[in-house]
């Protein structure tokens, strides 16, 4: 049922992208501009560090771009719109639909411009790895993909939880202005978090370090225990997000015009 609905939502989003081609191109350019900025940032700042650190900075930018592309493509036009659904009273009919409300609200619109801009970073990773002579095995690619998928779902969980809590407590729900800059911190190497901060980030906001883990996987450095730990943390975060969403729906009072 959910798969069928998801397919329909993808089809509707594709039709919308074709109808509003200018918006699609602009989303694509926006995504690519994020890549351009990250590449400029890392290439410029890498000039002052040793060569082994340079390679990891070069790789981190496209890996983060894939995460950003998928996360923005799947969720940015959805959960962030929740506050508008409440203000306009649209949430009423969404809750009445015979489908999982969270699923419907989370995946209603898919932004293909961002997804394409994310996928365009894959050739860049191949170019960087071949330039620096890094041999990437198939299993390393798979592990990197798993890490990126976990990062996307973790990011979704953080956005949904905070939006739901903000709606329940403040009637505003405008937390995307906090969560999106927070997620952008995930483009830095995880070694910037030190001591207690490192532990807090790994447990509470793992999406901030998962791109770095994915980059390490591409470089052939990964451990099965770490993957399992992050999968477990992801399920906990998704459960929290689901609980927070349900709680905010219970607090919701139809007031739209």
């Amino acid at each position: 049922m959910s798969l069928k609905l998801f397919t329909s939502l993808i089809r509707a989003s594709l039709i919308r992208s074709m109808r509003y081609r200018f918006d699609f191109i602009m989303s694509l350019l926006e995504g690519l501009s994020i890549l351009l900025i990250n590449l400029t940032f890392f290439y410029t700042s890498a000039a002052i560090v040793s060569s082994d650190r340079q390679i990891e900075l070069y790789l981190l930018a496209p890996v983060f771009q894939i995460f950003t592309g998928l996360f923005y493509g799947l969720f940015i036009d959805n959960i962030t719109g929740l506050k508008y659904y409440i203000n306009r009273g649209d949430l009423d009919w969404m809750l009445l639909k015979p489908v999982n409300s969270q699923f419907y609200i989370s995946l209603r619109f898919i932004n293909f411009g961002h997804i394409v801009s994310g996928l365009l970073a894959i050739p860049l990773i191949i170019v960087i790895t071949s330039t620096y002579g890094i041999q990437v095995q198939l299993i390393d690619w798979c592990v990197a993909c798993v890490y990126i998928a976990i990062a996307v779902l973790d990011g979704y969980a953080v956005l949904t939880t905070t939006t739901s809590i903000a709606i329940a407590l403040t009637s505003s729900g405008n937390v995307s202005g906090i969560v999106l800059p927070l997620l952008s911190v995930g483009k830095y190497p995880r070694r910037i978090f030190k001591g207690l901060l490192s532990s807090i980030v790994v447990i509470a906001l793992p999406c901030l370090v998962l791109c770095d883990f994915a980059k390490d996987a591409i470089m052939g450095s990964w451990r099965i225990t770490e993957i399992l730990m992050h999968i477990a943390l992801m399920f906990v975060q998704i459960w929290i997000a689901s609980t927070a969403f349900r709680a905010s729906c219970y607090k919701y009072k139809s007031s739209g015009s």
Partner: protein, 260 residues
């Protein structure tokens, strides 16, 4: 005189609106603090392992640089463009056009009132930084900094008005706004200080975004006075205003008032 009176009346209404949406304001402040935190952690780590001795920035100055840049960037929000877009999309523009007040004045009031609090924050920040002897800027440097800031605000106001008016042709300018915002951030030195770029990109410092953000930050931080910068920015303001007049005239010819 009437325009000034209208302007102040509109500013008072906007301030009241701000009071009603406190959470959104604090969320926007927090949204600016987080990237600074990330950048600071990154540079503290990077500079620890720096292999280039002649690197211009120290951990203290680079963190200060980002704090000043982000404080200035608070003025340069694109909210106004979204507001103009909404006016056109929903047909609210009709009622504004019927008012005995210029549309530009109405939007200027909106822009100024939105920027009152960021302005207070920036002033407080400048005083704290100056008093704590983190920087030693001369009076001339502070004056150049302020003139660039005011001209930068003026430039940005007209620039986002033009972007908002593009809705008349493109219907939905959200994607374009985010794209331009990202590019402007790069050109303004908000992502990386422009002095870090290779020498062949030195001319980039004369773009209006850099003159509004990077140059004033550098002036305050290092005390380096580029006396030509305010004049160059003033010239950019004239150019953008001329462009605005052309865009407004064409937009009104094409505006179909079908919203609502």
């Amino acid at each position: 005189m009437l325009e000034v009176k209208n302007l102040f009346a509109l500013i008072v209404i906007r301030i009241k609106n701000w009071g009603a949406y406190r959470f959104d304001f604090f969320a926007s402040i927090l949204g600016m603090v987080l990237p600074i935190l990330g950048l600071s952690l990154y540079w503290l780590d990077t500079l620890k392992y720096s292999v280039v001795d002649s690197f211009l920035f120290t951990p203290k100055t680079i963190i200060l640089y980002y704090i000043i840049v982000y404080a200035i960037e608070m003025f340069f929000s694109y909210e106004l463009a979204f507001s103009v877009e909404e006016d056109i999309e929903t047909g609210r523009m009709n009622s504004f056009l019927l008012l005995p007040c210029n549309y530009l004045t109405i939007k200027l009031a909106e822009f100024l009132s939105t920027n009152l609090l960021p302005c207070c924050i920036l002033i407080a920040l400048t005083i704290v930084i100056s008093l704590s002897s983190m920087i030693s800027a001369s009076l001339i440097a502070v004056l150049v900094f302020l003139s660039l800031l005011i001209l930068g605000m003026l430039f940005h106001f007209i620039y986002v008005m033009i972007l908002g008016l593009l809705t008349v042709w493109f219907k939905n300018v959200n994607g374009m706004l985010y794209f331009l915002q990202t590019i402007a951030g790069l050109l303004a030195g908000a992502i990386i200080p422009l002095s870090l770029l290779p020498e062949r990109f030195a001319w980039l410092v004369w773009n209006p975004f850099s003159l509004s953000i990077y140059v004033p930050s550098e002036t305050l931080l290092t005390g380096t006075i580029n006396i030509a910068a305010p004049f160059a920015l003033a010239l950019w303001c004239f150019v953008i205003y001329a462009l605005y007049r052309i865009t407004w005239a064409n937009a009104m010819r094409n505006y179909q008032a079908y919203g609502g």
